[in-house]
């Protein structure tokens, strides 16, 4: 299974690559090659840190290639900032639009007596029918580290509660995103990555 991992210089790719290889995938990496995006069987967009780093996807001309590839049905998984980029944008970087596949905005957690960032293992409330989260039970834990989050909508595949409920995972047909780090979330995380790698588009994960 070939998987294209997009490197936009937002953090370290080692852990994501390691987890994909552990699951038998053969990850390839690009930071600018639109042809590789067009031909990819599956695409993973990782990323940690500041939303503004996603500007590099625009300057490297990868954004239109990703948009076209997604439209043709190529399975796509955004992780952390990579998930947030699927939305219209984030209040972390108001001048940098996201892909806009999901039309909402990402916002910072409100200051309400708990620390921001949200760091650590928190539990998932999984909505039925999610292919990405097949086999994941309500209450299973995954590892988060973030200060901005996406709102709960009809596309939310799992929610998590920290200060207030937010979208821990989002899924609409071939486009999926997780706010947590599946590559750092033990067996539960590996199961989710494995579901992504075996996603076939007809719902048969």
């Amino acid at each position: 299974m070939r998987v294209l991992v997009i490197d936009y210089k937002a953090g370290n790719l080692t852990s994501v690559l390691k987890a994909l290889r552990h699951l038998g995938a053969e990850p390839e990496i690009t930071d600018s090659d639109c042809a590789m995006v067009e031909e990819a069987e599956r695409i993973v967009l990782p990323g940690v840190g500041h939303f503004a780093a996603t500007e590099r996807l625009d300057s490297s001309k990868l954004t239109p290639a990703i948009r076209a590839t997604i439209a043709r049905g190529t399975p796509f998984l955004g992780i952390c900032v990579g998930m947030q980029w699927l939305y219209a944008g984030s209040s972390e970087a108001p001048g940098h639009p996201g892909l806009g596949f999901f039309r909402n905005q990402c916002e910072r957690f409100p200051q309400a007596g708990a620390k921001v960032p949200h760091v650590g293992w928190n539990s998932l409330e999984v909505r039925s029918g999610s292919h990405l989260l097949r086999g994941v039970s309500a209450g299973d834990f995954v590892y988060f580290t973030h200060s901005y989050k996406a709102p709960i909508t009809a596309d939310t595949a799992a929610s998590t509660d920290y200060i207030e409920p937010f979208a821990a995972a989002v899924e609409r047909s071939n486009v999926m995103g997780v706010q947590f780090h599946p590559e750092k979330s033990g067996e539960t995380g590996l199961k989710i990555l494995s579901n992504f790698l075996s996603w076939k588009g007809d719902g048969a994960a």
């Binding site: 840190g49 960032p117 580290t145």
Partner: protein
């Protein structure tokens, strides 16, 4: 609900896990990769590897140890010890660490915190603070001082002030070790931990002094710690992370179970 993290710490010297009391009298406690995998399997939420080797040869050994330890580890993995520059940090990340812990180098050059964070994200930068109460001060806890070089040399900074500055400079987490408690198994310094935790908005990992389950209950309660680190309690079969977490759950502490 967000859970309190139990972090297994491996102090590594020349590629082997060691344990000492107040940073001296080291004894061998096994192979880092084997130990890390075992702790993760037994429910540790995170693994920290602290290299206490100072030599150049030892640094090369460390990168190989990190690579070997990270290979089959799918929980967050922090590496610290001897990271003096953003280049040192980059090598450790490339070898498979998710976070680096910086201590004396950040005190010598606080801009290092931001420099690592800009390339790898703030979440990847843990600032380790070794602190000791100042018994001569009017308020020994508020005036607790920072030490470097394994606790041998005063850094001339108050722990709470340095914690705030580290946060301002972009630290993602703080690893607060009580030099008074380290290796003693008499409990964490809950007062100092609470003071630092309430002074910042980033997670504080309490370290030094773990000996019983009650010590963890206390540091998560009145110590207001977000995570607690333990080394010796997990070595030599004293307790597994799983049994510790099961007892914590019974005491009402939110922990990741099953794990």
């Amino acid at each position: 609900m967000i859970t309190k993290r139990i972090i297994a710490c491996l102090d590594v010297h020349d590629g082997r896990v060691v344990k000492g009391v107040q940073f001296i009298d080291l004894v061998d406690a096994g192979d880092p990769a084997t130990q890390a995998a075992r702790h993760a399997r037994e429910g540790a939420d995170e693994i920290v590897l602290l290299d206490i080797t100072a030599t150049h040869e030892g640094r090369k050994t460390l990168l190989e140890t990190v690579r070997r330890t990270a290979r089959e580890l799918f929980v967050p993995f922090t590496v610290g010890g001897g990271i003096r520059s953003a280049d040192d940090a980059a090598q450790v990340f490339e070898a498979g660490a998710d976070k680096v812990s910086v201590n004396s180098a950040a005190l010598a050059d606080p801009a290092l915190i931001g420099a690592i964070g800009r390339s790898f994200g703030a979440q990847a930068v843990v600032v380790a603070i070794d602190a000791r109460r100042d018994p001569t001060a009017d308020d020994p806890i508020r005036d607790a001082m920072v030490y470097v070089q394994g606790g041998r040399k005063p850094a001339g900074r108050r722990a709470v002030e340095w914690a705030r500055e580290a946060e301002d400079r972009g630290a993602g987490e703080l690893l607060l070790t009580s030099m008074d408690s380290d290796g003693m198994r008499t409990g964490f310094d809950c007062e100092l931990t609470a003071l630092v935790s309430e002074a910042v908005n980033i997670p504080v990992i309490a370290s030094g002094g773990a000996g019983t389950v009650t010590h963890f209950v206390e540091v998560f309660g009145r110590g207001n710690a977000d995570a607690a680190l333990a080394a010796s309690i997990f070595h030599f079969g004293v307790a597994s992370a799983r049994s510790l977490k099961q007892e914590l759950a019974r005491a009402g502490v939110p922990v990741r179970i099953p794990c």
